[in-house]
Symmetry: C2
Subunit: 201 residues, 2 copies
């Protein structure tokens, strides 16, 4: 590992702090309601300084999403390395992790319909590469689970994938948590509805 020059380490640390704040704000109020003033305030620097590190508000959100996807990769590695987990078990572990992240207030939820943001993300090659990487690893587990007969044959892999992504930012979690239920309980319930469905088995 080559050591970076000290000045670059400082810069990196500052940018991490910025992305931390962005991540928190995105999780708490979403992209549209997050303001650059708030970000600067949380980090404790001037708003203009933000723009020395990131070109735009969209770039900030992209940075948070890229970090999240990077962490997802790490988590996928960890899950893949676990013993005694079949494909379905791995998918459940992934969903469990995303729900834990969300309940911890660390899931940057990008309200799904913002054109400027969507355009910026789709034009960001690093982001797209990370997203596809995660999607493909999940897809391979989905296919394996279907081959095992563990996943419903009625639902195509594509639909399973989107459903897993959707559960990662499911607003039901926040509502139940606000209702006073402990995190573990909330996760158990939503895991049950996701994998077993509402109907009795």
């Amino acid at each position: 590992m080559a050591r970076l020059p000290f000045s670059q380490q400082v810069r990196q640390a500052r940018e991490d702090a910025i992305v931390d704040a962005v991540n928190r704000l995105l999780a708490g109020k979403g992209f549209d309601l997050m303001t650059m003033d708030e970000v600067a305030g949380e980090v404790g620097i001037a708003k203009a300084s933000l723009y020395k590190h990131f070109d735009s508000k969209e770039a900030l959100a992209a940075a948070a999403m890229k970090r999240l996807l990077g962490r997802a990769e790490v988590e996928l590695d960890r899950i893949a390395a676990r013993d005694g987990l079949d494909a379905l078990g791995r998918l459940k572990a992934v969903v469990h992790w995303t729900m834990t992240v969300q309940l911890a207030g660390e899931m940057p939820s990008l309200p799904s319909q913002n054109s400027s943001l969507r355009a910026a993300l789709m034009a960001d090659m690093d982001y797209m590469t990370l997203l596809m990487g995660v999607s493909e690893r999940l897809s391979s587990w989905i296919l394996a689970a279907q081959a095992d007969g563990a996943l419903s044959p009625k639902v195509p892999p594509e639909v399973v994938l989107y459903t897993l992504f959707a559960r990662a930012c499911d607003p039901v979690l926040a509502v139940l948590k606000a209702g006073g239920h402990p995190d573990d309980q909330v996760i158990d319930w939503v895991m049950a509805t996701t994998f077993d469905g509402l109907s009795a088995r």
Copy 2:
């Protein structure tokens, strides 16, 4: 039925047109990205005229939501009047209807985290009354379906209710539709994931 004075009929028609436009815009881009200029433009009147009918942007959104809830009541009546539907069948019919509305581009989705809007809605007694009315009717069907043994005993009624509401604005629908799949197919898939779950039965 007492006839309203002509002038009031005109006013009513105009307000319906306004709420139509708001409903469409809320479904298409959400509350935060909808602007009063757009609403006025869609209706074909001046922005200032909007404010002669509705006090604020929040009031516009509330009007759209109230009309939706009113329509939901009508739909619940219709479903309740159908022959040969047990409680679970009724719940499925409700979800089917909400998904149809969403795919038709008529589901005003209020991004779940907007404090000014949430506050306005919670302070709107008419809205709250309608919301509670719908919630209670759904809850009674949920309880009945659970008594039938048709719903999973692992999931409390409260969780079922929130899940049904969440499916009404599930972004997965739009993604699948954008993927080129016909509406019926999309609905079948999401109905299957909602009630039967992702795991094989």
